[in-house]
Symmetry: C2
Subunit: 121 residues, 2 copies
DNA sequence: TGAACATATGAACGATTGTTCATATGATGG
DNA sequence: CCATCATATGAACAATCGTTCATATGTTCA
């Protein structure tokens, strides 16, 4: 998005180009919403985080169990949990020394299962 | 995913840990499916590609019009279209000098609108 | 209070990503 | 065939990302 906006006709086809620009400006969600949307999908775009979410589909789990279940270091899991929490996909509850994580809401399930459908074709 | 798997009890809580490992191995999709899933979401995790898809929600559009509508260089758009096409999210149709792109199927719409719902809260 | 355990976090590193620039490929019309 | 337009692509670069390592914070129990 470096280039300045210039309403130049493209492809020498003024009659296609003009209504297109109108459609785009009418239908495109605002810039910050598009950014947030991309940001959300970016979270799902890592298989460690996906695996964490799949475990949380089944149960509320502490960091240490997540690490051992997914066979990764506590640190790596903790870093990823922070990202998931910041994006409101996951919530944390402390119980003594341990912190238990669970899904923040059910959108996550829906989004991921839609993705799975596409992948499984 | 560097660490070797060792079935060590975690958090000194054998009674929690054991069934968890079972759940994980029973419910977790196979490794390659999780990878594909993450790979799919990675595609949506860029606002340029999201914007391209939003335009394609409305119409079949040639590269050059996409570039001017989204105010980006033809090269940048073309690179991104290649990624979208490789992931089967978009298909291409040549008509003379121009190449028109459109959505490959309707999963894309569903996935993105699910994402939007989450973001708009 | 101090040792032991669970979790969080900052810095550093290699790996991946998106854009730009230059150029190649492909199609059309003269 | 050649010039021109539309698109594709490879190399290069800065920016971002995920993991590791070392260490800090927070909690429990003796």
């Amino acid at each position: 998005m470096k280039q300045d906006f210039t309403p130049i006709e493209c492809c020498d086809q003024v009659e296609i180009h003009e209504p297109l620009l109108k459609i785009v400006s009418d239908q495109l969600p605002p810039e910050d919403e598009l950014y947030d949307l991309a940001e959300l999908f970016k979270i799902f775009g890592d298989s460690t985080r996906i695996r964490i979410l799949f475990v949380l589909f089944e149960a509320e789990v502490c960091v240490c169990d997540l690490a051992s279940a997914l066979n990764m270091t506590q640190s790596a899991i903790s870093h990823q949990l922070r990202i998931l929490k910041q994006s409101q996909l996951v919530k944390a509850r402390r119980e003594g020394k341990q912190v238990f994580y669970s899904l923040a809401d059910d959108h996550v399930r829906t989004i991921i299962s839609q993705g799975l459908e596409h992948v499984e074709e």
